[in-house]
Symmetry: C2
Subunit: 441 residues, 2 copies
C-alpha cells in the first residue's frame, strides 16, 4: 500500500474524509443521508438548482428518505447540496448516482455518466476515490469512465486517484431493505481502490461485499435485473396463454409456490415499469454486440414487454366489445398510473403505455391514483388528468381498468359501482364472477 | 355427494381402499412405497416383466427408494407388482406414473399415457379414481385421457369414475424433499373427484394442495419446470458472454445472491439434462400452437439449450488448440456423464451430447463417472466406455473435461495430473491459474 492510499484510509478511519455524492435523486439522496447519519460529512452535487435548494432547506422529495432524517443531517451540517462542481476538490471520495436511461432507439444514454465524469475530472484532487453507482454495462468503469477522468484531470487512475463500481440496489418502497442494510457489491479497480472503497462503504453500509473487478460488479447488477425482466416477461407471456386456455394464472403461481425449492414466484401484469428492470438488460445487450454476441433471452423478453401495451389495449377492447361498445368514444378509467403498488413513481409505467394505446384508438382516458393525484405524462408526451375516486367517476366510466394494485383502494367497492372492470393485477382475488362484469388478464 | 363417492371416501377413511400405481419408475416406485408404508395396500403395474419381478423380490433399482423400505412393504404384503392389467379392477384409485418424453421432432410422445389409459379403461371398475401424475400439457386430463377412458370402459367420467391430475414433483437425489414431504398439487375434475383425490393423497402425502381443475394442476408443473429451463438457459447464455468479457460468472452469481430479495441463483453448465426440465416446457409450447400462440421465451431457451453441446465442443476445441492440438485424434476424458451431481442417471445428459459432438470431430472419447462405472449410451446411440480414475488415465488424456461435479472426485488432484482441463461446472472453485492449464466455461 502506497502512502497516498494509506493517508486516505487513515482519514476514513478517523472520520475526517468528506464524501461527495453526485446526483441527489432516488439513489443519491438516500445514500447521502445514510452516510451523513453515520457521521460522514457529505456534499451533494446536483445539476438542478431546485433540487439542491430543496435539500439545503431540508425539504424532502424522495419517498425512501425520512423527512426527519434529512432535517437532522442538514441541521447538524453533515449534509449540504450544491450545484458548484468545483467543490469536488473538497471530497476524498465521490459516488456517482446519475441516471442511465435508454434513448428512443433503446440504446444506452451515457450522457449523464459522461457529464459527471467531465465535471469530476476537471475538479479532481489527487488521492480521491471515484465510485460509480449507476447501473450500466460491464466495462463502463474501466473503458468509459477511466479515459474521461484521466483526460479531464491529467492524472492517472490507480496512481493518482482510484476507481470503483458499486451498484445501487435501491428498491423504492421496500420497507425492509434500505440503503444501509442491503448488502452492497464493491468492485474496486486494483487492490488499493478496493481497500479504500471497502473502508468508505463500511462507514455506512452494514454488509459491503467485495468482488474482484469493476466489471464483475457491473455484471452483478445487470444479472439481478435481467433475472427479473426475463421472469416477469415469461410469466406475462404464459399468463396470456393461460387466459386463452381458461386457466387462472394466479392460482397456478400460488400453487407452484408450494414447491419448497427451485421456484420463485413472479406475477403477471400490464407490463414492466420503473427505471431499472425494463432498461438495465438492454445495457448488457448493447455491450454484447461489441463481442458479436446475441442475447436471445433478453431479446425475447424485450419483445414480449414491447407488445404488452398493445395486448392490454386489446384486452380492454374485447371487454368493451362484449358490452357492444367500441374503444373509440368510450370513457376508460385507469386505476393506478404508478409503475408498482404504493409508490408515487410513474416512470416507464406500463399503465401510461396502455393509456397511450387506448388513446390512439380514440378512447377518452382518465385516471385515479392516490399517490399521483393530479396529472401524469406518458413517455410519448400525452398528459392525463387525475380524478378523485368517486361513485360518479366509476359509474360514468364505460370501463374501469386496474393497472396498479394500490392497497388503499377498495376494489370490491369499485366493482359494485362500475359497469365493467378489467383487472390486470389480480386486485380482485376471487376467480370468475357470474355477472360477466370482471375481466382478468 | 352421491352414494358412490361417499362409499369410496368411507373406504379410504377406513383404510380399505386399494391403490394401483401404473409405471414403477423413478416416480411410481417411490409413490407406491410411500403409500404402502402408510398402510395403503398397493398394486404396482408394469409393462416390464423384469421390473415387476425385481419389485416382487424386493430388489430395489431406484436411488430415492430405501432398500429396507421396499423390503418391508413387500414382506408385509402391502406392495406387489404385476404385468397383468386386469388387476386394475381390484383398485379403488389408480395413479399413472408413466414417461412423457419428446419424440425426435421434439413433439410430445403421448403413447405411454395413451397405452395406460387403454389398459386402465378396459379393466376399470365403477367407482374408481384415476389420477395422472406424468407431466404433460394443460388440458391432457380432460381432453386426452377422458375420451380414451370413457371409450374403453363404456363409463362416464364424473358419473362412474373420477379423474384427477396431480403432478409428481420428484427431485432425484434431493435429501430433504421426498414424495411424502413435498407438497402435492391435486386438481380433481369436479367436486367429488377433488374430495376423493384429496382423501387418498392425504393418506401418504403430508401437504396435498388443491387447485380448481386438472388443467390448473397441469399448468403448475409446467410453470415450475419452465421457470427452471428459462433461467438455466439465461445464465448459460450470459455465462458465454461473460467468458468473452473476462468476467467470472460464478463470482457474479455468488455476489448477486447477496441481494436479500428478488433473486434466485442458477448456475451455468454444459447444458440442461434430466427427464423434466429440457422436455416439459415443450409440452406447453406444443399445446400453445393449438391456441395460435407462440411462446417466445421457451423457444429462445430451447435454442440456447440446443446450441450448448456445439458451444461446449468449441470450448474444448479452443483449449486443445492453445496446446497446438486438433480435436481430431485427441483423447478427451470426460469426468461425469450423469445429468447432475451425485446421481446415476444419464438421461438427456448434456455430457453425452458434448461427447457426441467431440466424437463427430474425430476425438477419442472416454469417461469416468463414479455413479455410472461401465458404459453410457447417448441419445444418438453412441456407446462410451467408463474407466476407473487413475493417474495414468489423466496423464494420457490430451484434455480432461469436467461435465458433472460429483463430490467424490478430488478435482485439484485431477488438475495436478492432467495436461489440460476444461471445467464446465466450476468444480475448481479458484479463479484464473497462472499455468494456463485450466479453462472455464
Amino acid at each position: 500500500m502506497r502512502e497516498l492510499a494509506a493517508q486516505l484510509l487513515k482519514k476514513i478511519e478517523e472520520n475526517r474524509a468528506v464524501l461527495g455524492v453526485v446526483g441527489l435523486g432516488y439513489v443519491g439522496l438516500p445514500l447521502a443521508v445514510t452516510f451523513a447519519r453515520k457521521g460522514v460529512r457529505v456534499v451533494g452535487f446536483e445539476k438542478s438548482q431546485a433540487k439542491a435548494a430543496s435539500v439545503n432547506k431540508a425539504e424532502n422529495y424522495i419517498g425512501d428518505v425520512k423527512d426527519q432524517d434529512l432535517k437532522d443531517c442538514i441541521g447538524k451540517g453533515m449534509l449540504s447540496a450544491t450545484t458548484d462542481f468545483s467543490r469536488i476538490a473538497e471530497c476524498d471520495a465521490v459516488m456517482i448516482c446519475v441516471p442511465t436511461p435508454l434513448d428512443v432507439f433503446k440504446k444506452p444514454d451515457m450522457s449523464y455518466i459522461e457529464g459527471s465524469c467531465v465535471e469530476i475530472g476537471k475538479n479532481l484532487r489527487k488521492g480521491t476515490l471515484v465510485s460509480l453507482e449507476s447501473t450500466t454495462y460491464p466495462t463502463t468503469t474501466e473503458d468509459f469512465m477511466l479515459p474521461i477522468l484521466e483526460r479531464e484531470s491529467g492524472m492517472k487512475a490507480g496512481d493518482d486517484f482510484w476507481l470503483c463500481f458499486s451498484p445501487e440496489r435501491v428498491d423504492p418502497g421496500n420497507a425492509d431493505y434500505k440503503t444501509e442494510n442491503t448488502p452492497k457489491i464493491v468492485g474496486g479497480m486494483g487492490e488499493e481502490a478496493q481497500a479504500i472503497a471497502m473502508a468508505i462503504y463500511s462507514k455506512a453500509i452494514l454488509h459491503p461485499y467485495p468482488v474482484s473487478s469493476p466489471r464483475a460488479a457491473e455484471m452483478v447488477k445487470i444479472l439481478e435485473n435481467t433475472y427479473r425482466l426475463v421472469n416477469i416477461s415469461m410469466i406475462n407471456e404464459i399468463a396470456l396463454l393461460a387466459g386463452k386456455m381458461g386457466i387462472n394464472i394466479w392460482e397456478v403461481i400460488d400453487a407452484a409456490k408450494t414447491k419448497p425449492y427451485g421456484f420463485q414466484a413472479f406475477y403477471p401484469g400490464p407490463g414492466i415499469g420503473g427505471h431499472c428492470i425494463p432498461l438495465d438488460p438492454f445495457y448488457l445487450e448493447h455491450i454484447a454486440k461489441q463481442f458479436n454476441f446475441g442475447l436471445t433471452m433478453i431479446h425475447a423478453a424485450g419483445s414480449i414487454n414491447d407488445l404488452m401495451p398493445y395486448r392490454m389495449m386489446n384486452k380492454i377492447s374485447y371487454a368493451l366489445n362484449r358490452h357492444k361498445k367500441a374503444m373509440n368514444g368510450s370513457t376508460v378509467l385507469f386505476l393506478g398510473v404508478a409503475y408498482k403498488a404504493d409508490i408515487d413513481d410513474a416512470r416507464e409505467s406500463p399503465a401510461l403505455m396502455v393509456m397511450d394505446e387506448c388513446r390512439k384508438k380514440g378512447a377518452n382516458i382518465i385516471f385515479h391514483d392516490p399517490f399521483i393525484p393530479e396529472k401524469a405524462v406518458s413517455e410519448h408526451g400525452n398528459e392525463y388528468v387525475g380524478h378523485p375516486l368517486t361513485d360518479k367517476l366509476l359509474e360514468d366510466a364505460d370501463c374501469v381498468v386496474i393497472t396498479t394494485a394500490h392497497k388503499a383502494i377498495d376494489y370490491e367497492a369499485v366493482v359494485s359501482k362500475s359497469k365493467l372492470v378489467v383487472d390486470l393485477r389480480n386486485a380482485l382475488k376471487a376467480g370468475g364472477r357470474p355477472d360477466g362484469k370482471v375481466f382478468k388478464l
